[in-house]
Amino acid sequence: MEIFNHNANVHFLGLRKISIGVAVLLVIASIVLLATRSLNYGLDFTGGVAVEAIYDNPVSVEDVRNALDKGGVDNAVVQSVGGTRHVAIRFQPKDDKHYVAQEGKSPNLDLMTNDVAKALQAARPDAKIASKSYVGPQVGAELRSDGVTAAIFVIIGIGVYLWIRFERRFAIAALATEVHDVLVTLGVISLFRREFDMTVLASVLAVIGYSINDKVVVFDRIRELFRSARKADPEEILNRSINSTLSRTIITSLFTGIAMAALYFFGGPTVHGFAITMLIGIVVGTLSSIFVASPILLWLGVSKKDLMPVTRENPELARRP
């Protein structure tokens, strides 16, 4: 079975002004979104108290919120997780002597959870606490900086590898596209107010890995075609490379997407954020592999002579990894 016409030669690079324009707009929009409304950080990053409650019968988020307001738990974020009987409640502990244990600085989780349970059960006796957790504010700050460090490490590490294995321009093009992918993915998460927790952070880092994989496949073909072509017009080579890897790019994304969809629909609430982020990342990464990475490469002025193997004695060796 084949979905794509293998003789198709869509002139993707002809669209480069539009495609890069759209990409730049998306990046700017994402930065603006991130700067103005930020991310909806989860408990892992903000610190605070999270309680998960399970009801015997369906309950609406609105009812839970009202019950909490009445019970004196203010400013709680209530989210429904996986179905109608399971809710997650997140709030900042009140700066109250009552809650703070005598010797340490950490508030007493049991007391706070008791209050939540009381508030919920006052409205609906079938509410049960399934889990509770407390995260101190400094933990979140450390995590955030760890996350940023990890992302920078990934981007630089990949850049160095591509520089060595390919050429400077490929490294730059890949990194620029990478930054685009991460920012746009974060922008979409911010736009839909999806909770940004540890698993989502893991997912964003995995998106970097996934999308670089995609770019490398196209770049590999570009290098191969440059080396084998007698007359190498960069634009034509790049275009042919995108076209001949197109089928692979889309099929792989489809297959990975299928797996992530299974995770989303059956994996339960703890991995929802992960699966959704991955799906967003796959779409963004696939599109940027086709429309963004190669135009950047073209503008950077890649040419045949940059890619010829250095070891003249044995060109066969140089072709091998």
């Binding site: 399934a130 893991a202 994996g267």
Partner: protein
Amino acid sequence: MSDFPRWRYFLVAIVLVAGILYALPNVYAPLQAVQVSSSQSEPLDPTVQQKVISALQSAKIPYVNESVRHDASRGDYMVIGFANGDQQKSAADALKPVLGDKYTVAFNLESTVPRWLSAIGGRAMPLGLDLQGGVRFLMAVDQSDIIDRQENRYTQDIAALLKDKKIPFISVARAATAGQGVNVVLSSSADRSAASDAIATEYTDLGVTDGASTGDRFVLNAVIKPDKLHDIQTNAIRQNLATLSNRINALGVSEPVIQVQGEDHISVELAGVQDPAEAKKVIGATATLEYVAGIGDARDPAVQDAVRTGNIPPDAHLYYGRQGEPYLVSKNIIASGDELVDASSGNDSQSGSPSVNVTLNSAGAAKMLDFTRDNVGKPMAVVYVETTTDTKVVDGKEVHTPKTTYSVINYATIQGVFSNKFQTTGLASTKAASELALMLKGGSLAARMDIVQEGVIGPSLGQDNIDKGFKAVLLGLALVLLAAAIYYKLFGLVADVALFFNLVILVAVMSMVGVTLTMPGIAGIVLTLGMAIDSNVLICERVREELRNGSTPLAAIRAGYEKAWATILDANVTHLIAALALTTMGSGPIKGFGVTLLIGILTSMFTSVTVTHAITALIHGGRKLKTLSV
């Protein structure tokens, strides 16, 4: 002809068989069990076993008969398995009152992996807290507290040293800011250089510099060297870890995970525990030691009399040892735990019997010298003092009741006069010696800790997560298998076989490495499955291209694999870099995901290239082919 050498078939076969074997233990679901161990050092005898069984029978709790066992080789405890968590819980509730204080009843998961499989090293992946329920704490070790303690100690020690060396000084005091060291004020520049030399030779961990001198005040500043400070901090964390392990073991949780996280955090995971209050009480306990003069032990009639009548001499305390034996000890404390610098176990150089070597600081040493000079041949006791805080909620208010327990951990006769270094000999075994050393040293926390993160996951939520995660893995796998088979026909089916083995080998490697399975880890498995197929997509697309360019089927296969390999390698190395970064992230869940991804990339490179190549060569090798089903 064959492009696939025979030794590689062999390699593939071996890896596949090993993969199946080592993934197999995960199929055997562990049994919910209750573990009974003796909290005193007396062994579990058959009468206890009889008691347990009759208690369960009278409470009408069915247990898995063949699981009841008391395996001395694995430590002194017995395990009783149950069909489900409810029975496990009611059994524990039923056993606790019957067995009393002397035995600890704890929840446990008992492996049901067959003996032959565990004999070859097969074991199931341990489940994370999110999959089996439990309590998790993250504690930050207070760094400034470590510095405070050290600087206070040096302040005392330097003052004592200068007195000892008869160097006159005006004052020895800590600098105004913590971390700035100790300031010594002397009255002449000659004294200052003498003091400087004395401190530098005696305490090599200190860096000594001359401070400002005004009139007749000559200031000397002694600061802990930065690399030493780092050592001290690392040691403090290690000691806290040991202390915590000790205390948590007393809780009776079967397999607590206590580990250092990042620079100065300690995470504690207690599977199966649902009430963090008890755990917190133990973690928050403060303990110290007291060296006191001994008055009598259990053989002494005065002690027996005191136990019987309750009349304790006014200058004495009646304390009990760890086996419950009574002692009378003096109320005057010779030295206390904060004066103890170090304790280590070893063997006595003269008798060769197990011993514990103790080092006291100068203040403690002076008092010890005074005491031992007059009391050679008399007994001395070491008392372990533990303070816990019971927190109860009464009328919506917290009521804290501090509870102090005293126990005699060592009672020995003073053999000679000693001061800062001495030895406790005549201990029953090497194990007893190392336990005593740990108690002496690890009795109290080296630095204060604050709980910065705390989580409780209910057991039902854990089971729910396992079910969902399992479903997601199977459905994700099935869908990808189906899609590949439809799109690439025979080559797709070959890729499917490889993908299935990828899951098997991934699980096998994770089990062998001992990766704790968590929900993010399961997400990592599903993601790996989705992406592992990429290599096969690359190969199949290449083969198709070669066919289109007019290659013969066999040449197309060969060229397809050869050309795709370079791409697969590049793509996977970049991906590995990303996975590597994820594993360096300090915290648990992300790390679990990163490790899974890392192993998954490596296994997928093997299965989707080597395994598929082997199968393809088997199918197509040695035949004249007109077409390929790709």
